[in-house]
């Protein structure tokens, strides 16, 4: 069973078509990396998958169930109310800029949503949060506020916050590009360790070595289309000229 399927997605901002008929599929526990130059539509793709943006054409399926689609006449169908809540519980998103809640302590950032939105038992949630913090190497930061943490620590809290809702799939939008190189490693290490949890992940990143190492599947996007995709080895050793040009630029 595929966890996420996005079929023939199109998305425009005004007259600018940003996603031009892209399809992707993620199975349970699978790791997909999306790479590509700036402005190619990678973030937009993630924002469509997490329903922060509405698609103009195509369909989105979670757990083999069609949850959002656009008719050929442009009518958009999106879940509401309880249905929306259910769908949202399938996924989590880790932002480039963390977006932690600055007025909540680290602990509250992680536990507030499970307690208030999922109505789960408080003790149980806090216990789980402590385990997550330990996994993130942040056991001593439970009572700190986000402003007292480094960027790398904040991003690890953001990952813990997303994991606390027990998503089946986690989206990462350039989780390390707001970080100093020294802090990038610690966040990548944490993401790698999540592979053991058997959560599916879709990762937009400019860290090519990381993508090559961790991914089951890699998609190279440029100007709103998928140029090359396949296993990590296939994509990173391709002869495709655009892909090679992209790598060439990264090397400098």
């Amino acid at each position: 069973m595929s966890l996420l399927e996005m079929n023939h997605i199109r998305k425009s901002f005004g007259s600018l078509e940003v996603i031009k008929d892209i399809s992707l599929k993620v199975d349970e526990g699978e790791i997909l990396s999306i790479i590509g130059p700036s402005g190619s539509g990678k973030s937009t793709m993630l924002r469509c998958a997490t329903m922060l943006e509405k698609i103009d054409a195509g369909e989105i399926r979670y757990m083999d169930e069609r949850i959002a689609w656009a008719d050929p006449d442009g009518t958009k169908h999106y879940p509401k109310g309880a249905e929306l809540k259910k769908v949202c519980s399938y996924f989590g998103l880790v932002f480039q800029s963390f977006n932690l809640f600055p007025h909540f302590s680290v602990m509250k950032n992680i536990t507030d949503a499970p307690i208030h939105n999922q109505k789960r038992n408080k003790e149980e949630v806090c216990e789980e949060a402590r385990k997550l913090l330990a996994k993130m190497g942040l056991s001593d930061k439970a009572d700190a506020y986000p402003c007292q943490l480094s960027g790398g620590q904040q991003q690890r809290v953001a990952i813990a916050r997303a994991l606390a809702l027990n998503p089946k799939i986690l989206f990462f939008d350039e989780p390390t590009s707001a970080l100093d190189p020294e802090l990038t490693g610690e966040v990548l290490k944490v993401i790698k360790s999540l592979a053991d949890l058997h959560i599916a992940m879709v990762i937009v990143t400019h860290e090519m070595n990381f993508a090559r190492e961790i991914s089951d599947h890699v998609m190279f996007m440029d100007k709103g289309v998928v140029v090359v995709e396949g296993s990590a080895e296939e994509v990173f050793t391709t002869d495709n000229a655009r892909m090679k040009a992209f790598f060439g630029k990264l090397q400098h």
Binding site: T50, L52, K85, C88, S89, F91, G92, L93, F95, S97, N99, L100, F101, P102, H103, D112, A113, H116, N117, Q118, Y145, P146, C147, R161, A162, L165
Partner: protein
């Protein structure tokens, strides 16, 4: 008139000034939030009405608004309102005026919140009201507190405008005594009262601001 009698009368006036002050805040602070929602509404008609209301409140003298609320019912509808109308009219005028100012402060505070906070909240399953009450509003309060403090301190001094309806708050009384005794002392005493009240309110607001300094 002895100095103590004068102070006593002024103190009574001060209590009435404080009454106006607290009642105005009690009603205008929450009302301002609803006005801000109206101002930010997607409904163009509601938004337009609120916009006009705010611009009139901010664009005309409060003293004129006091007179309009007090005499309006009589001149417009011939209504004869009872003895308590004077005080009610004062509170009404102050609340409606200050709600407009607070609404603009709330609005700018809400607009200054980064969209990422809303997006993160949405992804974490917060409802619209949950997002506002738990995530947005607490941060907005911290951001707007200095501007609110300014308005609150202005309000203390603005209560003296009630003299235009001859309501016996402190400034009205100070004027009466000063005229009767041909003395300037009541004004100095009144100034001292206002000053001390302002200082106390300033101190309290400062404490509240500092209590929110645990995050940036």
């Amino acid at each position: 008139m002895s100095f103590t009698v004068m102070l006593q009368q002024l103190a009574e006036g001060m209590l009435r000034s404080m009454g106006i002050f607290f009642l105005t805040l009690l009603f205008s602070l929450p009302l301002g939030l609803f006005v801000a929602f109206g101002r930010m509404s997607k409904n163009k008609i509601l938004q337009g009405i609120v916009r006009v209301y705010i611009s009139i409140m901010r664009g005309t003298p409060l003293m004129l608004q006091l007179l309009a609320v007090y005499f309006g019912p009589y001149y417009l509808a011939g209504a004869k309102l009872g003895k308590n109308w004077r005080f009610t009219a004062i509170i009404l005028a102050f609340v409606v005026n200050y709600a407009a100012y607070f609404a603009e402060i709330y609005r700018s505070g809400i607009a200054s919140m980064p969209p990422g906070q809303y997006e993160a909240a949405r992804l974490l399953g917060y409802s619209k009201s949950g997002t506002f009450m738990r995530i947005i509003l607490p941060q907005v309060i911290k951001r707007i507190l200095p501007s609110v403090t300014n308005e609150v301190m202005t309000l203390i001094k603005d209560t003296s405008l009630s003299f235009s309806l001859a309501y016996a708050e402190m400034f009205t009384i100070a004027k009466q005594i000063a005229a009767k005794e041909t003395s300037f002392v009541p004004f100095i005493a009144a100034a001292a009262f206002y000053y001390v009240f302002n200082a106390i309110v300033g101190f309290i607001m400062n404490r509240i601001e500092r209590s929110m300094n645990y995050y940036t």
